[in-house]
Symmetry: C2
Subunit: 140 residues, 2 copies
C-alpha cells in the first residue's frame, strides 16, 4: 500500500486535491526507490548523506529511533552504498558516508524520482511562485 490516504474527501476541493498529491508523491517515491532495488526508507537515508555525518544526527532528522538507523545503515553498508568510519573526535561515535557507488545510486534515484520536478514544470514561473506562496501560507 503506497498510502497513507486521507479520509474520503469531496472530490474537487482543495483538500481532496491535496490528498491526491500526497498519494501520488508517495507512490512515485516508492517506485523510484524500487527501480534502484532500494526501499523507501533506504533511499531516504541515502539521500540525507550529502556529507559525512553521525548516526544520531540522522535519527534526529528523520524522527526515528537510533536503533532503526543502525539497521538501515547496516543494510546500505552490506550492499556497498555507504561506509561507517570512526569519529576521530569521539571514539563512541561513527561517521557514515556514501561510497562512490552510493553517490551514483543516489544520483540515479534523484533522476528516477521526477515527481516534484515534473509537477512543477507543468506550471509557468508565475504559477510556481503562486503555488509556493499558497503552500507556505497553508502550512502555517
Amino acid at each position: 500500500m503506497a498510502l497513507p490516504s486521507g479520509p474520503t474527501a469531496p472530490s474537487s476541493t482543495a483538500e481532496a486535491v491535496l490528498f491526491e498529491l500526497v498519494d501520488d508523491y508517495d507512490r512515485a517515491y516508492e517506485s523510484a526507490a524500487e527501480q534502484l532495488s532500494l526501499t523507501a526508507a533506504q533511499a531516504c537515508v541515502l539521500g540525507r548523506l550529502h556529507e559525512r555525518r553521525g548516526m544520531g544526527s540522522l535519527a534526529e532528522e528523520l524522527g526515528c529511533d537510533a536503533s532503526n538507523i543502525t539497521q538501515l545503515v547496516s543494510r546500505l553498508e552490506a550492499v556497498g552504498l555507504v561506509t561507517r568510519e570512526p569519529d576521530p573526535s569521539d571514539r563512541r561515535a561513527r561517521l557514515v558516508k556514501r561510497t562512490r557507488r552510493g553517490h551514483a545510486v543516489n544520483r540515479r534515484f534523484e533522476e528516477a524520482f521526477a515527481f516534484g520536478r515534473t509537477a512543477v514544470s507543468r506550471l509557468t514561473d508565475a504559477e510556481q511562485q503562486q503555488l509556493t506562496f499558497l503552500l507556505k501560507k497553508a502550512l502555517g
Copy 2:
C-alpha cells in the same frame, strides 16, 4: 520514520515546499492513527469502508496484494472494528463492513486528522480555488 522524504531540494522553491507538505501530511496521518491505537495502514482500510465491500475491491483501490488486505482486515476484526460476512451472491467472496465501534473510531480518526482541513482553512476562499487550480494543473 514518517517519511518518504524527497531529495535534498533547494530551500524555497515550489518543489521544496511540496516536499515539506507531503512530509507533514504523512506524519500527521501517522500521528492521528496512533492516537486511536491504529497503524496508518489500518486507519486507511477502515476509512475505505464507507459501505460494505469485498476484499478484492479494497486491494485494488489500495494498490496492494490481496493477502495484505486479508491480514489488515483480520487485525481490524480481531479488535472489533470490522466484520466479515459471506457474500450471498458469490460464496467464494466475503463482504467487509465496519462495526458500530468501527464507525465511531473512524469518525474520531477523521476528527484527529485535521491536517488538510487546517491547512486549507488558512487560505481565503479565492486562494483555495487558486490552490485547487494550480495543484490540478501540476498533477497533469
